[in-house]
């Protein structure tokens, strides 16, 4: 059986036995990971909800610094575009 990728606030509310308003408060406080799919419509990633239930959500910490010899080229293999030449106009 495939797991649903996202849950609605109502589904999360049922599973947690709280009201949908409480779920929205958890989202707004940043306690429950959620994505905004359109104005005022939230979805909760199922994987994130599992982390929440297990008490395994991470808390942000400063990333470590590493010394690297060479700066990378962020362009990768992308070809740079060139603007088309302006059309010539004759008088």
């Amino acid at each position: 059986m495939q797991t649903k990728l996202f849950l609605t606030p109502a589904e999360v509310a049922t599973e947690l036995a709280v009201s949908p308003a409480t779920v929205l408060r958890l989202i707004h406080r940043g306690d429950l990971p959620a994505i905004l799919v359109s104005e005022r419509i939230y979805r909760i990633p199922s994987a994130g909800f599992e982390l929440y239930k297990a008490g395994k959500l991470r808390v942000a910490a400063p990333a470590p610094v590493r010394d690297v010899e060479q700066q990378p080229d962020l362009r990768g293999d992308e070809r740079l575009p060139v603007a088309p030449a302006p059309a010539r106009t004759s008088r």
Partner: protein
């Protein structure tokens, strides 16, 4: 402008947002480049999904140019989102700013592919975005049916 410490926190926060969506990836590092003195990071996160092993990938990259003793200014970025089950791509890029300024009088561009690997347009005009906005916009289409609305963007070069 940001200090090294602020960039460490910035990167840690981005990684935490993605981890808490259920993404998997190694702990990213803020890299200090010996050849330029600049800072930056590049990491790729695999988002969860029902079609394993690959559902969607998010690649986040930034380059911060040194602009003082402990001051850095974001010079380049590349935020990419590829959704494999739906075979599509969205990206916000701000690399090679000198080239784009010279050719198109803009610093940044976007990519949008309704059909992965078959873009209608190679580069679209766009506005600068920060990493949080990029993640928010990627997440808003992640797993959602319907088009990416590439046709609403203005093509820079085809």
């Amino acid at each position: 402008m940001a200090t090294l410490r602020e960039l460490q926190v910035h990167l840690g926060t981005l990684a935490t947002i993605l981890w808490n969506y259920g993404a998997s990836f190694p702990d990213p590092t803020l890299d200090r480049y010996a050849d330029t003195g600049n800072l930056g990071f590049v990491f790729t996160a695999e988002l969860p999904g029902s079609q394993q092993p690959r559902a969607a990938t998010v690649r986040m990259a930034e380059l911060w140019q040194r602009d003082g003793r402990d001051a850095y200014r974001r010079r380049e970025y590349a935020y990419d989102f590829v959704e494999h089950p739906l075979a599509r791509r969205r990206a916000f890029h701000g690399h090679d700013p000198d080239h784009f300024a010279r050719e198109f009088r803009v610093l940044v561009h976007e990519h949008c592919e309704e059909a992965l690997g078959r873009p209608t347009c190679q580069h679209y005009y766009g506005l600068p975005v920060d990493a949080h906005e990029a993640i928010r916009r990627f997440a808003s289409v992640w797993g959602q049916p319907g088009p990416l609305r590439c046709a609403d963007l203005q093509c820079m070069s085809s």
